[in-house]
């Protein structure tokens, strides 16, 4: 957009001597005035009088284009944009020349700095000639959030979102929310030496979820597919039928009459649940549901006893699954963890010897709603009912030779033979089995001996570099072992407990707890046990080397408890695939930056928290869930989102719809329904890869078009210059930092900002050479963040290709990776390349 010179003005800031002491502002003014351009200067342009000056001149003179010579645009760029906008100019009609960090501060010689300042301003003036007004790209963010997974992480995130006014869906695949925390009974806490009741903390939160007007809770529901992108995700949800209507009052009559006993996942596979049940007494929603795999009626065997017993006619065998498609602005994945399959370490006997448990199984046993009602016992002394069920499902080899009496395996037996005269339980308690077998279990349970010796084995699967193990520390298990040791010692003071460990990791304030447990008389042996052996009386021996005194010990044990590693849950792995977010080697959802972006996933608008992101305890889970909610809320609240960076723009007149540019590394380009190539503004990073692909030049990055860059080059270059194309991200910051660090480089180094070096094509480089550039340098961001990880290799390849295409001139093209701290290195590169260029330039001259 060419406008007459009198409609253009330059404003130069003194920056209180920062600029004016090195740049002869008078000389600059004189030079530009000679070209017919009005120039104003002021002590502090960023001050309000400074801004008023700019605004008043725009109005007074009817200016259409403005160049400001000041500090780096990353400092006051937004401020100046706002200033000209208030005076009625489009933001594209403003250019800022960096006279401080990239001129005054790096060129100590006034004559040189002044000359450079003139070229920088000239470059911006020329660039403005090619500028087109830019429209703000705004995207509406759908004002609703989706939280996947109803453990403590998901519950916390959903409540935080809802309390902040965001309409939130909480989706849980099980029939109740609560997750693993509902199972663990008591929890260790960092500030007390006491164990708190998990359910006492969790249950009120669960009730709050159910009652919150801003939360829609969908249980038995999984995310099937996600389309669209940040701000407007289209999510398909599938809800399995529970066969019980909302009219259920949870009276439990159905449960009492149901003749089918099934394995209870909540109780680690103990067969103490009916085919119609609630997950646990405090389940939310407080509705019974039917297990369709085991219900007789649903498997073609007439029964319907529950329907007969129900007084509110809540049972509905005809319920169908439901599919829902909804829009969400942001998504939080809180899909949790699972325990490592300890049978992969057969030397510890898990799944082989019934008295070897995991910490979770011990937690269930110690839970008053657990299979033994909180009584510590050896499985071999208690259960003939469900012996062998401790063998986890995903073990490849089935060691259990124990007989199973699974009524559900025999759906053909006439259900009327089944007992119906079972004792009546407390209304909502579905943990007490009601069959005759269970009364025998009860008898057996009434007085089984308390195991006198317990050995716990730490780091089972964790911190294990062998093929079957995982390398990391699972973070919860040292504390869980201490907690269980403490609970047991309090209840059964005569029980001897030994913990075999590699290191005890009681991080932070938990050290107090560790010390207290030591003082309770729990023994600790430093060593990773080799093998657990069973003697004929079913007692066990743990063979371990005490590495502190190098003795082989054989520790007798009635119970062996394995602290199994924390792995991403199956649901976490599945959801990572559905959401297309990055995972780490073990399958946890990977955060974008472990310190700065700990809850952002690799996809914009999708966040992660809790054990779906990595092993952690409840305290850390809650803290992280709160942050995820805050981040998701901020994402939604920022609507319509004005995109800060410049994006690819398609010229529909020249675009032939060949589709070549659809190879965009971020998948930002697609064909619209009408066949046009369109840019998804939320996905496009403005990297410019597509500009290199499109042979027709139909796609350009707005603000960094070839003609803008060409003009700026013409303005800044003089014979013998080194022209640097600088990525507008980290690389630009690093260039500015050279100035901040009082380093210097020759004034014939001219830097031009680009979205990335991918927008620089061969023609631009030839153009630079024609206008005097002795050499050209690409300064690129290192592959340290997800965007740069994609762009850096492309930029490097692009550079190598150009170098080859340039033939003999290829030796004049250079590449440098810019790390923020490495200002010295970058200044050094500038200096050495510029010196080389000067010599060549001399020859040119």
């Amino acid at each position: 957009m060419i406008v007459p010179p009198e409609k253009t003005a330059v404003f130069i800031c003194h920056c209180s001597g920062n600029i004016s002491e090195h740049v002869d502002i008078k000389a600059v003014k004189a030079a530009l005035k000679a070209e017919g351009i009005s120039v104003f200067d002021y002590e502090y342009l960023c001050s309000s009088p400074g801004q008023d000056l700019i605004k008043s001149k725009i109005e007074e003179k009817g200016l259409e284009k403005v160049v400001i010579g000041s500090c780096t645009p990353s400092k006051h760029g937004l401020l100046f944009k706002k200033c000209v906008r208030e005076a009625g100019l489009n933001r594209a009609m403003l250019e800022i020349a960096n006279l401080r960090e990239q001129c005054a501060w790096v060129h100590p010689d006034t004559a040189e700095a002044t000359e450079k300042a003139i070229t920088l301003l000239r470059g911006k003036l020329k660039r403005l000639d090619r500028g087109e007004p830019l429209q703000d790209i705004k995207v509406d963010i759908f004002p609703r959030a989706l939280v996947i997974g109803g453990g403590i992480a998901g519950i916390t995130a959903a409540l935080n979102l809802a309390d902040n006014g965001v309409s939130t869906y909480l989706v849980e695949k099980d029939s109740s929310i609560g997750g693993q925390m509902a199972k663990i009974g008591k929890i260790f806490s960092p500030d007390k030496l006491a164990e708190e009741c998990a359910m006492c903390s969790l249950s009120p939160l669960m009730n709050e979820v159910a009652a919150h007007p801003k939360i829609t809770l969908l249980t038995r529901t999984e995310v099937e597919a996600v389309r669209g992108s940040a701000g407007k995700f289209k999510v398909m949800l599938r809800t399995r039928p529970g066969y019980v209507r909302d009219t259920c009052t949870a009276c439990g009559r159905c449960n009492r009459v149901c003749p089918v006993l099934v394995e209870n996942e909540f109780n680690c596979g103990h067969k103490d649940k009916k085919a119609i049940s609630m997950r646990f007494s405090q389940s939310i929603p407080k509705t019974y549901s039917i297990d369709p795999d085991h219900c007789l009626q649903l498997n073609g065997v007439p029964c319907g006893k529950c329907a007969e017993a129900c007084r509110t006619e809540a049972i509905d065998f005809g319920q169908q699954e439901e599919v829902l498609e909804l829009n969400f602005g942001a998504i939080i994945a809180a899909t949790g963890f699972k325990e490592y399959d300890a049978s992969l370490k057969p030397q510890y006997g898990y799944g082989i010897f019934e008295n070897v448990l995991t910490q979770m199984e011990l937690a269930r046993m110690l839970g008053i709603n657990g299979p033994t009602k909180g009584k510590l016992a050896r499985l071999s002394d208690t259960c003939n009912l469900d012996a062998g069920n401790s063998n986890p499902g995903n073990s490849t080899t089935d060691f259990s030779n124990a007989p199973t009496t699974d009524p559900s395996n025999a759906p053909t037996t006439d259900p009327s033979n089944s007992p119906t005269n079972a004792p009546i339980n407390a209304p909502t308690n579905d943990f007490t089995p009601n069959s005759p077998e269970s009364s025998s279990l009860k008898e057996k349970l009434s007085d089984p001996p308390v195991p006198g010796r317990i050995v716990m084995i730490q780091c089972v699967g964790s911190r294990d570099e062998k093929a079957g193990g995982i390398p990391y520390c699972s973070r919860y298990c040292c504390m869980a072992a201490l907690k269980h040791a403490s609970l047991i010692r309090k209840k059964y003071p005569d029980t001897e407990i030994t913990i075999c460990y590699i290191d005890m990791r009681a991080f932070g304030f938990y050290e107090n707890y560790y010390r207290a447990v030591q003082e309770m008389g729990v023994s600790f042996v430093r060593g990773r046990p080799a093998e657990v052996i069973r003697k004929s009386d079913k007692s066990l021996i743990v063979r371990v080397e005490d590495t502190l005194n190098q003795k082989i010990l054989e520790l007798p044990a009635d119970l062996v408890v394995l602290s199994a590693a924390m792995l991403p849950s199956t649901g976490t792995r599945v959801i990572a695939g559905v959401l297309n977010v990055s995972q780490d080697e073990t399958g946890f959802i990977k955060e974008r930056h472990s310190k700065l972006k700990p809850v952002d996933s690799s996809v914009d608008g999708i966040f992660v928290c809790g054990t779906a992101q990595g092993p952690k305890d409840i305290t850390d889970t809650i803290a992280q869930a709160g942050l995820a909610a805050a981040r998701a809320r901020a994402f939604i609240a920022d609507s319509p989102k004005v995109l800060e960076h410049e994006l690819a723009r398609i010229n529909q007149l020249t675009c032939t719809r060949c589709g070549d540019c659809l190879s965009c590394p971020f998948d930002a380009l697609s064909f619209s329904e009408s066949g046009r190539v369109v840019v998804d503004p939320l996905v496009c990073t403005g990297c410019g890869y597509c500009t290199e692909i499109c042979e027709k030049g139909a796609v350009q990055v707005a603000g960094f078009t070839k003609s803008q860059l060409k003009s700026e080059i013409e303005g800044v270059l003089e014979a013998g210059d080194l022209l640097g194309f600088v990525n507008s991200g980290i690389s630009s910051l690093t260039c500015d930092n050279i100035g901040n660090s009082v380093l210097s480089y020759p004034s014939n180094v001219k830097l031009v900002k680009v979205s990335t070096c991918l927008v620089v094509d061969k023609e631009l480089i030839m153009h630079a050479f024609r206008h005097g550039a002795a050499s050209v340098l690409f300064v690129e961001d290192p592959p340290d963040n997800p965007r740069a990880e994609v762009i850096f290799p492309l930029a490097l390849r692009h550079f190598e290709k150009l170098k080859e295409e340039l033939g003999a001139d290829g030796s004049r093209l250079h590449f440098k990776k810019a790390y923020v701290p490495n200002t010295k290195g970058l200044a050094g590169t500038f200096t050495s390349l510029a010196r080389e260029g000067e010599m060549n330039g001399d020859m040119v001259r």
């Binding site: 057969p346 082989i352 093998e531 069973r534």
Partner: protein, 314 residues
């Protein structure tokens, strides 16, 4: 982990083992018998030599000689068009795999070996980097049998139901190259899965299951007592578990148990009822092979007659 689907059944060089040939030749003939019936394409090449394993582990052969002999055997395998070296002995398996890695990654060794070949005018033996792949050119016969487990189950003539058996997976198979084992290297179940398919009642875990057989090559001769005590520990544990048949996959372990069981009985004043067999012999027997003509049980020290009669093989 080595996926079982990746185990080939074509172009297998059935690698002769000196311990097999000299002590239990029935292992080779039985494995061949089984392979024939399972449609495995294999070849036994008389040009092939010992892998040096026994000598290597008793410090008689140093690494360079072992590598040179391996390079020669690799050339033999490639030349006859059967490049998938399939071992009957776990030591041959580990030695060959290790030598292949060394020849691929250590240019100095490779050059030294090749220069010896060239000096002697044996240019056809020269090994070029990558001629063999340590992962995809080396197998143990038990892996091949496991890959055919369904066929074995369908075609078995003899059922081992009611036979309480246990496996000893060789250390040189699952501990030396532990990243390249079929299944969990801390709990290999190859033999168990094959034998279970023939009806055997497998004791899949017993005390000290992962303990070595005790031979330790020179240890058997230098520290005889320790060596035999280790073997005894395992035999005791098998006895406690009521195991009557122990299945092997390596002639060295096989020797240690079968030849030394009577020695241990005598020296330690104990008695065992366990008999020993290689998994190849077991599969051949299941597929209908003759116990003596094919399986060569007459070469065993612990007599198998009682056992064979009981299961109806005699």
């Amino acid at each position: 982990m080595k996926p079982i689907e990746n185990v080939p059944d074509r172009k297998l060089l059935l690698f002769k083992s000196c311990m097999v040939s000299q002590e239990y030749p029935g292992i080779e003939s039985a494995t061949g018998y089984a392979f024939d019936r399972l449609g495995v394409d294999y070849f036994v090449n008389e040009e092939q030599s010992c892998c040096t394993g026994i000598g290597h582990y008793t410090d008689l052969f140093e690494g360079l000689t072992t590598a040179a002999i391996a390079a020669r055997n690799f050339a033999v395998a490639r030349r006859c068009g059967y490049p998938n070296i399939t071992c009957l002995c776990s030591t041959c398996y580990a030695v060959n795999k290790e030598a292949c890695e060394l020849l691929n990654t250590n240019a100095e060794v490779r050059e030294k070996v090749n220069s010896i070949f060239r000096e002697q005018g044996m240019d056809d033996l020269v090994y070029e980097k990558g001629d063999m792949d340590p992962r995809s050119n080396f197998y143990h016969a038990v892996e091949v049998l496991l890959s055919k487990v369904d066929l074995i189950r369908e075609n078995k003539q003899l059922d081992f139901s009611g036979v309480k058996a246990a496996a000893h997976h060789a250390c040189h198979y699952y501990k030396v190259k532990y990243q390249d084992v079929v299944g969990n290297p801390e709990n290999p179940q190859l033999i168990d899965d094959i034998a279970a398919a023939c009806g055997a009642d497998m004791v899949r875990w017993y005390e000290d299951r992962t303990l070595t057989c005790g031979m330790g090559f020179s240890q058997l001769h230098l520290n005889r007592n320790t060596s035999l005590q280790v073997t005894k520990a395992k035999l005791d544990s098998l006895k406690n578990a009521g195991v009557e048949l122990m299945l092997h996959m390596c002639p060295n372990c096989h020797i240690q148990y079968d030849r030394y069981q009577p020695v241990i009985e005598k020296e330690f004043g104990v008695e065992y009822d366990t008999v020993h067999m290689n998994i190849g012999q077991f599969v051949a027997l299941a597929l209908g092979a003759d116990p003596y003509e094919v399986c060569g049980f007459q070469t065993h020290s612990v007599p198998l007659e009682g056992f064979l009669e009981r299961i109806g093989a005699l």
